[in-house]
């Protein structure tokens, strides 16, 4: 049963072919055996998981709380979990026991989901390979010498390896979509404001958004249903009704206008990657969609604009880590200044320090207009590109990443790493929903296509992804690692 998705597990729980406790025990056992090779979990919450599973089984006779009732999931370690270590992949928070639950955690628990543990991630979600984690890199189940992508690499590896059927994740510049592409998963970053940021440790507050990492679009719909909605505790949360995502999954897309941004298929793109996405697009044409070439002329400025906006917000957000109220504190500080400087020097890793410094520089006197204001003006141009495009088309599709998962240690230069997110970053700057869906394989490694929609069009993205998954089977491809997990002697079949 480990190879089942959330919807299939829901059916198994419904018809009593297994209990939540059996399911949870099977996952916990698989995690114990296989996680050491992946390093995908920072914390495994065995006792809580079993208690939540028992409670789910007990209440089942009087009806289930939601489709997720009794379904085990994992949380990215960026979400605060009351009474439990919440590290954000950083030494700074290695000793931090969250005093409250994030709204996402609370809502999924209220929907009956069982928490298996907290997943590894790039430190403070700053990275595209999971190599900046204080807890060491995560290995991609498709090839243990390769990265799973980042920053939600732990969540991606866990779901791809069948150590959980779904996981929460967050996306500031591509941190859900790129790891989903690298691990052959469906990864959805909702519209900014769709899911509450309360209790989600801040990186860049105007860009951060929580979403889902699952094996298929239907499972994304089920998880998003439980996570989305207005939250008075997040002042940027959208007070807009949440539609029933599952009910529109099978809607016809006859006549749907899909925009193909020429900038995402430039001559620099690996032709094999372009070919994979073009094949996927022709499948959507068979479903009645119309393909229209469009232009997003400021695409090439999204990475530069992001590397002003995100570090600027990060430098402000991370100023809270001062060694005084919580988190890491250096030994024997000489004075307050020394306490701040050494606690932060010891608590933060190299990439986090680098981004704090870029942000500090961009916001400092004399540079503010040249960098920060300029980047915000370009941000508006990027948003306007999309607004113009959506007058012509209903949806935009291109590659998620310029290539498949790369080798651990292959990208040591920060700028090279930043360019990893060339197709995903504009979506965060514009606040739009984006989704990566498995679209093909290249030399044994998965590739994703990215769906981008107008504000609050998650239902449409899920609908298109679901229909695509009804006529293709890329999302069902599993790594040898995952097959081993699912057939492990002793694991229930």
């Amino acid at each position: 049963m480990l190879n089942q998705g959330i919807a299939e597990l829901e059916a198994m729980l419904d018809n009593r072919s297994c209990s939540s406790v059996e399911l949870t025990q099977a996952y916990l056992k698989a995690i114990e055996i296989h996680n050491p090779r992946l390093n995908a979990f920072i914390t495994v919450t065995t006792e809580t998981a079993l208690a939540q599973a028992r409670a789910a089984d007990e209440r089942r006779s009087s009806g289930k709380l939601s489709a997720l009732d009794g379904i085990p999931i994992a949380h990215k370690d960026i979400f605060c979990t009351q009474g439990l270590k919440t590290s954000c992949g950083s030494r700074m928070l290695d000793n931090f026991i969250a005093p409250y639950d994030a709204t996402v955690v609370e809502k999924l628990a209220a929907a009956g989901a069982v928490m298996l543990g907290k997943t590894n991630m790039d430190e403070f979600a700053m990275g595209s390979s999971n190599e900046t984690s204080y807890y060491g890199p995560v290995h991609n189940p498709w090839d243990l010498e390769r990265v799973p992508g980042g920053s939600s690499g732990g969540s991606a590896a866990v779901v791809a390896a069948c150590l959980a059927p779904g996981a929460t994740a967050t996306d500031t510049g591509g941190s859900i979509r790129q790891p989903a592409a690298f691990c052959n998963l469906s990864g959805l970053k909702p519209t900014y404001g769709r899911v509450s940021r309360w209790g989600m440790i801040a990186f860049a507050s105007s860009l951060d958004q929580a979403g889902t990492m699952t094996r298929n679009a239907e499972d994304s719909a089920l998880m998003l249903q439980a996570m989305a909605g207005f939250d008075p505790k997040d002042s940027t949360s959208a007070d807009i009704a949440v539609p029933d995502y599952r009910s529109s999954l099978a809607n016809s897309i006859e006549g749907l206008r899909i925009g193909i941004p020429k900038e995402h298929f430039s001559s620099e793109l690996n032709p094999a990657v372009a070919e994979v996405v073009h094949c996927a697009l022709s499948e959507l044409e068979k479903l009645g969609a119309k393909l229209i070439e469009i232009s997003l002329p400021t695409s090439h400025l999204s990475v530069p604009a992001y590397y002003v906006v995100a570090p600027a917000e990060a430098s402000a957000n991370l100023s809270r880590y001062d060694g005084v109220r919580y988190g890491h504190r250096c030994q024997s500080p000489q004075d307050l200044e020394d306490l701040y400087k050494r606690s932060r020097a010891e608590g933060f890793g190299a990439e986090v320090k680098r981004r704090i410094m870029i942000g500090t520089y961009a916001l400092s006197a004399g540079y503010y207009d040249a960098y920060y204001v300029k980047a915000q003006q370009v941000r508006r141009l990027i948003r306007q590109d999309f607004e113009r495009a959506f007058e012509q088309v209903d949806l935009i599709i291109g590659p998620t990443s310029p290539h498949a998962a790369f080798k651990l240690g292959a990208k040591k230069d920060p700028v090279t790493m930043y360019l990893e997110d060339v197709f995903t970053i504009a979506v965060n700057l514009a606040g739009l929903p984006g989704m990566s869906v498995p679209a093909g394989m290249l030399a044994g490694l998965p590739l994703g296509m990215q769906l981008i929609g107008p504000d609050f069009s998650e239902a449409l993205l899920l609908n298109v992804a679901h229909l695509y998954q009804q006529i293709t089977d890329w999302h069902k491809y599993q790594s040898t690692f995952a097959q081993t997990v699912c057939t492990e002697k002793g694991a229930m079949s």
């Binding site: 940027t236 590397y307 919580y326 520089y361 961009a362 960098y371 915000q376 370009v378 141009l381 700028v415």
Partner: protein, 93 residues
């Protein structure tokens, strides 16, 4: 980018850097700023800056007490606390 600017930024950000880190930051931040300088290639005269993708204004809530006293829980997270206060090295002689 030169080391004195890096030193100044590190001071503003309250980060103690080693000599190696200063060297590395001078190069890597210099490279990142070259990437960022591509922004100068486009004329943005008259473009209103966009700070937030959602343009809606901030909501106001009823002025009610919604937080309970959690000082004990929160102080328990502090590296050093005493009698309801966070402890830091002496600031004033």
């Amino acid at each position: 980018m030169d080391k004195s600017i890096i030193e100044n930024i590190a001071q503003l950000a309250r980060l103690q850097l080693t000599e190696n880190e200063r060297e590395e930051a001078t190069t890597s931040i210099g490279n990142i700023l070259s990437l960022i300088d591509q922004l100068q290639s486009i004329d943005t005269t008259g473009i209103e800056p966009l700070a937030h993708a959602t343009s809606s204004s901030q909501r106001l809530r009823e002025d009610l007490v919604t937080e309970t006293d959690q000082s004990e829980t929160l102080l328990a997270l502090a590296p050093m606390a005493e009698e309801g206060m966070f402890l830091v090295p002496k600031v004033i002689d």
